[in-house]
């Protein structure tokens, strides 16, 4: 097959000693930074982005592949070994994995997470290899109006599908779109929202925005609410599993992969829904239902595989349409754009070497991760003990260095602090950061496509209507009207597993957010 031939070429590129070294550094650093509490995968990638500045494009992308999976895996280690959950994608791991760890089965929890991630990542990447060329064939035929429709769908999906409040997601979207407007309008050459500040004419560098909102915003937010009592880290030896653990884990790995990949490939707001879906599925199918909530290995194996499969699935829209659907994918897109590579349908034709080397590196990185993480678990447990003042001082330190290095500009540092302040306010009042980042990245492109489409049709709105875009807008309408549909059309006939998953998500939000006053159903203002 053609895809496999190209993939072999990719392996030939990626398996040179230098490139292997970069992949190794990427996996190691990604895991180390991802393990640090308070640093999620997106923030880890944003902070480590500067490390690739001096590299040529292939080496940089290969290193990034390692960072991507490494930071993801690091996050789940944190959830298992610390007795409090971090970001949304690993909430489930925190529930079951941490219970397992407290019962003295930390090594087994880490092992099933590592092997499950490997299985899911490998199958997921394989699916990307198989699917991407086929989707590109369709994607090259779609025009400006179709792109515009897809981007609007991405905006609405990341804004509306998740989070406890839709209007706050929408506010975040608006903030991102506004930031995206700053700079010279590409079509007319006029300056918008630059207030005659010359440094703003080219817009705000996306690295500064990402580092500001994710890293500085998070550091300020945590600093203002720092737990003074240090958390208990559960000690662990090398990760390993017994025969019984294997027997109970392998099916959840494959089921998790099947659930996670499709959710990753569509704009559904990240890994939260599929991981819960996997958790609930495993609970229903398990012969050990009573263990769930007390540390059932299936409840770690399934969701962890789901998490990684959805991360792999995210490469499909990213590589074929240039569409990031998660925060981590958004940072990857930024990494591409720094080398003037525009992911999209033409990417496979224009830069086949980079794409196939990237895909090959995902396989290699995944394997390295497995080999590295089983024996290194005790080391990662030590990393978790880093004194918090040093951790958050370090985040600010590296955020400043990385943002300054982009343009060697003091002005960027001031901007970074302002954006950090914005990130702080957003976290305080429950505005999700993801819609803002997606809007900053896709907003200008969406405007360009909209104007192109209407230019072709000479201003008639019918220029936005194509058979393809009608389908997209139909999906959009369903997403927008979902609460109504759920209430009136499907009164008691919801898919039981899905509704149970949604219920679990809400319960966790209620449990961890101290300010949730009511269930969303009882807040009419949220439903508008």
């Amino acid at each position: 097959m053609d895809a496999f031939g190209s993939l072999l070429d990719g392996f030939a590129t990626a398996l040179t000693p230098t490139h292997l070294l970069y992949a190794f550094i990427g996996v190691l650093l990604g895991t180390a930074v991802g393990v640090l509490p308070g640093i999620g995968p997106a923030m880890a990638l944003a902070l480590l982005l500067p490390l690739t500045y001096g590299l040529d494009v292939t080496a940089a992308i290969i290193m990034f592949a390692g960072l991507y999976y490494g930071s993801m895996y690091g996050g789940s280690t944190t959830s298992i070994l610390l007795n409090t959950p971090g970001e949304t994608g690993s909430i489930v791991t925190a529930i079951e994995g941490n219970r397992m760890a407290r019962k003295g089965r930390a090594a087994q929890a880490l092992a099933t997470a590592a092997i499950g991630s490997f299985v899911a990542g490998t199958i997921g990447t394989l699916l990307v290899v198989l699917l991407a060329p086929a989707i590109v064939e369709i994607a090259v035929q779609i025009g400006a109006p179709d792109y515009f429709a897809i981007m609007v769908l991405a905006f609405i999906a990341v804004t509306f599908v998740l989070g406890s409040s839709r209007i706050r997601g929408l506010a975040s979207l608006g903030i991102g779109l506004t930031i995206g407007l700053i700079g010279i309008d590409r079509t007319s050459g006029q300056q918008r929202l630059t207030f005659d500040i010359p440094q703003l004419a080219d817009g705000i560098d996306i690295v500064v925005i990402a580092v500001g909102l994710f890293a500085v915003g998070e550091a300020l937010w945590v600093a203002a609410h720092l737990r003074r009592r240090s958390l208990e880290v559960i000690p662990v030896g090398a990760a390993r599993m017994g025969r019984e653990d294997w027997r109970r884990s392998w099916k959840p790995w494959f089921r998790g992969t099947a659930i996670g990949f499709p959710f990753g490939a569509i704009p559904s707001g990240g890994a939260e829904i599929p991981t819960f879906l996997s958790y609930v599925t495993e609970k229903r199918l398990s012969k050990h239902r009573e263990e769930f909530g007390q540390g059932a290995i299936e409840g770690v194996a399934g969701p962890e595989a789901t998490n990684n499969a959805s991360a792999a699935g995210g490469f499909v829209p990213l590589l074929t349409l240039g569409l990031p659907v998660t925060a981590t994918a958004a940072i990857l897109l930024v990494a591409f754009q720094r080398y003037d590579i525009q992911p999209g349908p033409l990417l496979l034709e224009d830069e086949p070497e980079v794409v196939w080397a990237l895909l090959a590196s995902l396989f290699i990185g995944n394997t390295m991760l497995l080999v590295l993480n089983l024996p290194l678990a005790p080391l990662w447990a030590q990393v978790l003990r880093i004194p918090r003042p040093y951790l958050y001082a370090g985040i600010l330190f590296f955020a400043s260095l990385g943002a300054y290095a982009v343009n060697a500009s003091t002005f960027d540092l001031i901007l970074l602090l302002c954006l950090g302040g914005l990130g702080f306010v957003m976290r305080r009042y429950g505005l999700p950061v993801l819609p803002a980042i997606i809007a900053v990245i896709l907003g200008p492109a969406a405007e360009e496509k909209l104007r192109q489409a209407l230019q072709i049709s000479d201003g008639a709105l019918s220029g936005l209507i194509t058979p393809f875009s009608i389908v997209v807008y139909a999906i959009l309408t369903v997403v927008l009207l979902w609460p109504l549909i759920r209430r009136f059309v499907l009164p008691r006939r919801e898919v039981p597993v899905l509704s149970e998953a949604v219920h679990a998500v809400e319960a966790v939000h209620e449990h961890h957010g101290l300010e949730v006053l009511d269930r969303p159903e009882e807040r009419p203002a949220d439903r508008t």
Binding site: P50, T187, L517
Partner: protein, 172 residues
Amino acid sequence: MSSGTGTTPTRRWEGRSELGVALGLAVVAVVVIVDTLGLEERVGVRGPIGPRTVPFVVAGLLLVVAVLIARDVLRGGRGEPEGGEDVDLTGGSDWVTIGLLAAAFLANALLIERVGWPVSGAVLFWGAAFALGSRHHVRNVVIAFALSVGSWYLFVLGLGVSVPVGILDGIL
């Protein structure tokens, strides 16, 4: 937690502070509209949509959201503060820490081109660690300089990215 005792002073204050989000969004919307009105609609434009359309739509979105959030807050809705491994949401925000962190951050921004990253970065790290409650002054100074000098070497020699060396020129 969910009983909604909206009478304690802190809760009432928190509710009002969230109205600031709505106000802020509205202010941004007005700024966008004023700025957009200053654009020439037809200068160098190809196609029927000029540079003003999208900003107006975005400003409209912001205004609508501002109204909806204000309505939600007045009806008792609250944004859900973000949790995390190191986050303890039981108390209020610690503004002293935030102020000191911002000061350390600004010190670096103002100093980096005058004295160079090896010094300004160390000031940033030391200041931030101090703000976050670390009182091992000597150890912190050592760590701060090790990090700033180490990262300078990494960027300049390892990655080939220029970072100002400042007053330590010739020593490093």
